[in-house]
């Protein structure tokens, strides 16, 4: 293996993990980050494994892709567990995730989901209300049962981003603020062009989330990467009581408690998208709907105060990751997690780095090859 020069477009968790993996194997790496609306900076640190009901409801046509990728989600949480150890602690807790049912219909839906996920090797089961009372006595009385996915968890994204970034910098990764307009492949390498600036390298990893589709377009691929600004809330601190990641079988919500005692509420309520260069703003109905739903499923948090809201930045594709070299430009490697980008990011980044180094990827990712988007 020889040292390569690599560019990584996008300095979020995916790009940073890719850059770190490359640098640790002796490559000289530069991250180029646009510095706006980064998903990783606004993420709230849920580790998702089970299929998210919100996603199944909104994008039913993409469910087969998600289902096929389930083992990948499980592996991705293992990647985070490894990072937690290597980075010296990022408050990662793998206490499992609960998806709540408020009716028998919802419970039946979860039972069907458990069967499909079990077939893919996930550690999932249905808890009835009696069993729930033992692990989550704080749930509202209307909750009839839940799906427990033992692999799910949560981490502190502020800590994780800071430590991962510091580790990459220590490994020699450099970082520039630059919004890449276009990529060009030449006979000797690739050029990333940002206005008057030209950055050259042997290879480029595109880990630009919602900006990735635009960069792949000139190479004949129509990757439907879309930004999806989502509403988030955080409370002041309370005594630690909620150990699980909490979701709902039918309605959009994620709720979890950080090590600080603060409760973070989110889960897919839209924020106002103001385009690429301005941060998204808060939508009233999302704030009201999201928080009111949280108050109904966990009534005990009613006395805590919300101290901040913000808009996270999710990226959707076709439900599956996009990982691999472009068919028409083999020096350009896509590293796009798709849904649940923060959970999948470190694993996707590492695999993209392995590809750049012509190593055998540590997981089979043929399923995620970019050529499925060839026009």
């Amino acid at each position: 293996m020889t040292a390569i020069d690599a560019l990584v477009v996008g300095g979020g968790v995916t790009g940073t993990a890719a850059a770190l993996a490359l640098a640790e194997r002796g490559a000289r790496v530069t991250i180029l980050d646009a510095g706006t609306n980064a998903g990783s900076n606004t993420n709230a640190g849920s580790l998702h494994v089970q299929m998210q009901s919100r996603f199944m409801r909104l994008y039913p046509d993409q469910v087969p892709n998600v289902e096929a990728a389930l083992p990948f989600y499980r592996e991705a949480t293992e990647e985070w567990v490894r990072l937690d150890r290597e980075l010296g602690g990022i408050d990662l807790l793998q206490n499992g995730g609960l998806m709540l049912a408020e009716s028998d219909d919802q419970l039946a839906f979860l039972e069907m989901k458990v069967a499909r996920e079990t077939a893919k090797g996930l550690a999932v089961e249905i808890l009835d209300r009696t069993a729930l009372n033992r692990v989550a006595p704080w749930l509202g009385p209307q909750i009839v049962g839940a799906e427990l996915c033992r692999e799910e968890g949560k981490l502190n994204p502020l800590l994780a981003n800071a430590k991962l970034g510091a580790r990459a910098a220590a490994a020699g990764v450099t970082r520039h603020t630059a919004r890449i307009d276009t990529l060009e492949q030449t006979s000797s390498g690739v050029t990333a062009i940002a206005g008057q600036e030209h950055y050259q390298a042997d290879q480029v990893i595109v880990a630009a989330a919602w900006g990735s589709g635009r960069l792949a377009m000139p190479f004949g691929l129509a990757i439907p990467s879309k930004s999806e600004p989502l509403h988030m809330n955080i409370t002041e601190s309370g005594a630690p009581q909620i150990s699980h990641l909490v979701q709902h079988a039918e309605r959009s919500i994620t709720l979890k408690q950080f090590g600080s005692g603060q409760i973070v509420i989110g889960g897919g309520w839209p924020a106002h998208d103001l385009g690429e260069t301005q941060p998204p703003t808060i939508a009233l109905n999302s704030l009201l709907g999201n928080v009111a739903l949280a108050a109904r499923i966990v009534p005990g948090i009613g006395k805590l105060r919300i101290i901040r809201t913000w808009a996270g930045m999710n990226t959707t594709t076709d439900g599956a990751s996009v990982i691999g070299r472009l068919p028409s430009a083999d020096r350009v490697i896509m590293a796009l997690p798709g849904d649940a980008g923060y959970t999948l990011g470190p694993l996707v980044g590492r695999i993209a780095a392995e590809m750049a180094l012509d190593m055998k990827p540590s997981m089979d990712v043929k399923l995620f090859a970019p050529d499925r988007f060839a026009a």
Binding site: G261, A292, G300, G302
Partner: protein, 554 residues
């Protein structure tokens, strides 16, 4: 005077009718109300609902601000722990929502807000005033909870308040606004009821809060803003302590020192950062010419302090504060470089003001930075309208200007807002504009005599706390700035600065200045934390109640 009794940590505390918990506890000798995550103690600091440090648990409801909560018979009050247990099902918010749709909504019941409401109501508009405190009047006219009158300033305020009530404007006290949305929708809470206001026009008159003297020890219980001490005295006839020192810069410090001295406190030390006014005779003279009455009042206060044997030390600064048994030990540096250390019960500090411009910034009103004052000013037209249609802004929330100017701005804004809502034309305001020009001239000269430009953090030790809520030190922030300082949002994520309950009101301006200095970029609106709801922390149960109320309305 009627008295009530409440319980604090199992001890019965007597409170005067209308007294805040903070005042009653202070009178009973309690200073530490809250225990932080790092086991530090905190007490009253801002005295006006901003700093979120005087938190107590009241009848099982955690994180209630003692300064904004009325002491009531039989209340069970406990010191606030860092991690309160959740309650049972939330039963705290109930009742029907208060829906308001006035021609003119005035936010803030101080000098500017009351005057705006009077002008708008007299022009025929329907007017509602939302005020945070139990008794309107604002920080300048600070009314006594029992209605007693201490001096001319309070009497002026009482007259203005009476006039506002007679004008037909509806004054709703004790309203905490937490949301402001485009199209002019305001959400808030009034006791246990959600407030939903959809006015035709709105006049924001939310005033300012005080800039502290950020030195090691400034978060100790007993250290408070000068305004907080003034509220204790003027509103509740409670002294913040027996032995008191005052520091910072500006006329409020001298005024409050004299008030507290008259009230029986022993003013041990007054440190004023600026030189004596006589060293700038031309500025002092032109200030006096702009408003001889106010200038004379100022001289009278200094004479009053001298008569009581209280000297003002000019060009003197607070260096640090330490806890010493039950008292505080404060050290001041004199121009000679020598230090004086005094033992006191309370330390009052005011080193300028920060506008409460959260609503304005949230609604997108354009701002510019005023380097002399070290804070943002809201752009407004001659009619007091901001860059947002139908949104007017007056007084100190638009940049410091003082109460007399706020009153005139209120009159102008009230007339124009009423007119915009379809009522009589806003004419005959020439005299008001002339008076306003005179007040502004006085203000600009006045502040030249003081030193309220934000002080440099460079000489401060790393151990100085910068973010009160997250308990971050200057060292943490310096480290967070790193080799490549970029933006306040990046610093926030790197350090958690500004992520706490006060929402960056104290650390935000400091962080913005440190970044500007490190990057060489000028300070502007975007230099500060991005404005977002909630404007103030709001209970989840309160948001639930608002959601239900808005659902019903649809």
């Amino acid at each position: 005077m009627a008295e009530t009794t409440f319980w604090f940590e199992g001890q019965d505390i007597r409170a005067k009718e209308g007294q805040s918990l903070a005042a009653a506890l202070t009178e009973a000798g309690h200073r530490a109300f809250r225990q932080t995550a790092k086991d530090a103690h905190r007490g009253i600091f801002c005295g006006m609902g901003v700093c979120q440090d005087c938190l107590v648990t009241v009848d099982g409801m955690p994180n209630q601000r003692a300064c904004m909560t009325l002491a009531q018979e039989g209340m069970e009050v406990a010191r606030q722990v860092a991690l309160p247990e959740f309650g049972d099902a939330s039963d705290t918010i109930s009742g029907n929502a208060l829906h308001l749709a006035p021609d003119v909504l005035v936010v803030g019941g101080g000098a500017g807000g009351l005057s705006a409401a009077i002008a708008a109501a007299q022009a025929g508009a329907s007017v509602a005033i939302l005020d945070e405190r139990k008794v309107a009047g604002g920080q300048y006219y600070k009314q006594a909870a029992d209605g007693s009158i201490l001096d001319n300033q309070q009497a002026d305020g009482a007259r203005l308040l009476a006039e506002a009530k007679e004008s037909g404007a509806e004054i709703i006290s004790g309203v905490e606004l937490w949301g402001a949305f485009d199209g002019l929708l305001f959400l808030g809470q009034h006791e246990s009821t959600p407030v939903i206001a959809q006015p035709k026009t709105a006049i924001i008159a939310t005033g300012a809060y005080e800039r502290p003297v950020t030195v090691p020890g400034w978060t100790l219980p007993g250290v408070m803003t000068t305004g907080a001490a003034q509220t204790l005295w003027r509103s509740y006839q409670t002294l913040p302590g027996k032995r008191i020192a005052v520091c910072g810069s500006g006329p409020l410090n001298v005024q409050v020192a004299l008030e507290l001295a008259k009230g029986g406190a022993q003013i041990v030390y007054i440190a004023e950062r600026a030189p004596r006014a006589i060293t700038q005779p031309m500025t002092a003279l032109s200030m006096a010419l702009a408003d001889p009455k106010l200038a004379t009042q100022g001289l009278g206060m200094l004479a009053g302090l001298r008569a009581r044997g209280v000297p003002v030390r000019y060009r003197s600064e607070l260096v640090h504060i330490e806890q010493k048994d039950d008292a505080l030990s404060a050290t001041f540096r004199k121009p000679s470089g020598h230090e004086d250390t005094v033992t006191i019960d309370a330390l009052c500090m005011n080193a300028g003001f920060e506008p409460q411009n959260e609503i304005l910034r949230l609604l997108g009103a354009k701002m510019h930075y005023d380097p002399a004052m070290g804070h943002l000013r809201c752009q407004k037209s001659q009619t007091m309208q901001t860059s947002v249609d139908g949104l007017y802004a007056i007084g100190d929330c638009t940049g410091l200007g003082g109460a007399p100017a706020a009153r005139i701005e209120g009159e102008i804004a009230g007339r124009h807002a009423a007119s915009a809502a379809g009522h009589s034309k806003a004419d005959n305001l020439t005299r008001a504009h002339r008076t306003l020009a005179r007040h502004r001239a006085f203000q600009s000269k006045l502040w030249q005599l003081y030193d309220i430009a934000p002080s440099d953090t460079a000489p401060l030790p790393d151990t100085t706390l910068i973010c009160r809520c997250e308990e971050l030190t200057l060292g943490d922030v310096r480290q967070g700035l790193g080799d490549r300082p970029s933006h306040i949002g990046t610093l926030k994520r790197a350090t958690r600065v500004g992520m706490g309950r006060c929402q960056g009101r104290y650390c935000g301006p400091v962080a913005a200045r440190m970044i500007a200095e490190a990057t060489g970029k000028p300070i502007e609106d975007l230099s500060f934390f991005a404005p977002r709801v909630p404007i103030k922390p709001v209970a989840i149960s309160s948001i639930l109640a608002a959601q239900e109320a808005l659902d019903d309305g649809d």
